[in-house]
């Protein structure tokens, strides 16, 4: 069965880059969000298995989304894909329960190995 996946990034290019970096064998049904608030609206209304989440976004940033997911016990995996690559940021993101922290522009091999590690492909 296809995995419901949400790609959240304010950049159209970045959303396409994530999509293109995923293996063909990845059976998913995609939705997109352009900021954190849009992402939360989707996450509250539907069951989403996996979120690809950008950090620096207007309206509500990725940290805000992770905090809400934690506070509301929303059940989903989150892989953060970020241009902000400071070790301190990675630490915060992992403490908030993200599965992984990937630097932009997204590296295909890294993404595949994480998906494999968690049995998603």
């Amino acid at each position: 069965m296809a995995l419901p996946v949400l790609i959240c990034d304010d950049s159209l290019l970045a959303r396409k880059q994530v999509r293109k970096s995923l293996p063909e064998s990845f059976d998913a049904e995609f939705q997109t969000a352009g900021n954190g608030l849009e992402a939360l609206a989707i996450l509250r209304a539907q069951e989403i298995g996996l979120v690809f989440l950008d950090l620096t976004m207007p309206e509500l940033d990725g940290i805000g989304v992770l905090e809400a997911i934690k506070a509301e016990s929303i059940d989903c995996f989150v892989i953060v894909i970020s241009a902000d690559i400071q070790p301190e940021m990675k630490k915060r993101v992992m403490e908030l329960g993200a599965l992984a922290f990937i630097h932009k522009p997204v590296n295909e091999d890294k993404l595949h190995s994480i998906l494999k590690q968690y049995g998603l492909i």
Partner: protein, 204 residues
């Protein structure tokens, strides 16, 4: 940017490339200053280079300022000059953080270091993403007393036709520190940039 005929897709693409390059530069700066940098989405705009002095006049009018400029050259006609602008008040805060005395001669050295970190990391990050590689000329520091920054900007920018203005605002954990970065580029570079953006967009 619309005045230069950038489509929404081209603008989005350039913004994302700049965001990634900014992320690299912030990480380097954070390591250099041994602190955490709150990253904001930089706002970008393409303007005529002749408008640059007026654009910055207000912000730097009543303050001592410094300007660090550095030329860059790459393949495919990518070339230009990167300028980082500081209010000296801000620069003093960073000096204090790094243990320099205010007004110390080496404060200029520090500004040169920070500017180099910012511009070369930023531009290398940008070049990587468009599969280019850049070389740089030695940085040049110009400091100004109150009010004459616009004449410095005028003399620096008059060789160039266009300017890509990247408003960077760095918020350090315990200190606020703002600077502006401007990339001055020749006329044909805009067309070159658009062609490169289209090539990237075609891949997706």
């Amino acid at each position: 940017m619309s005045t230069f005929g950038f489509s929404e897709e081209q603008r989005d693409c350039l913004q994302e490339i700049i965001n990634v390059a900014m992320g690299l530069a912030s990480d380097k700066l954070a390591r250099f200053l041994n602190t955490f940098v709150h990253l904001q989405v930089p706002s970008i705009a393409l303007v005529g280079a002749s408008h640059i002095p007026a654009e910055f006049e207000n912000r730097y009018q009543d303050t001592e300022a410094a300007l660090v400029s550095q030329g860059f050259f790459g393949n495919e006609g990518v070339r230009g000059e990167a300028i980082v602008l500081y209010q000296m008040e801000n620069a003093h805060k960073i000096s204090a953080l790094l243990g320099y005395e205010v007004g110390d001669v080496s404060e200029i050295e520090m500004l040169t270091d920070i500017s180099s970190i910012l511009t070369t990391t930023f531009l290398n990050g940008l070049a990587d993403q468009i599969e280019n590689s850049l070389s740089y000329s030695a940085p040049r520091v110009l400091s100004s007393v109150k009010g004459d920054l616009s004449s410095l900007l005028r003399s620096t920018s008059f060789h160039w036709e266009h300017a890509l203005k990247v408003d960077i605002s760095y918020q350090l954990v315990d200190h606020s520190f703002n600077c502006d970065m401007i990339l001055l580029i020749p006329g044909e570079a805009v067309t070159n940039i658009q062609r490169i953006l289209d090539r990237i967009l075609e891949d997706y």
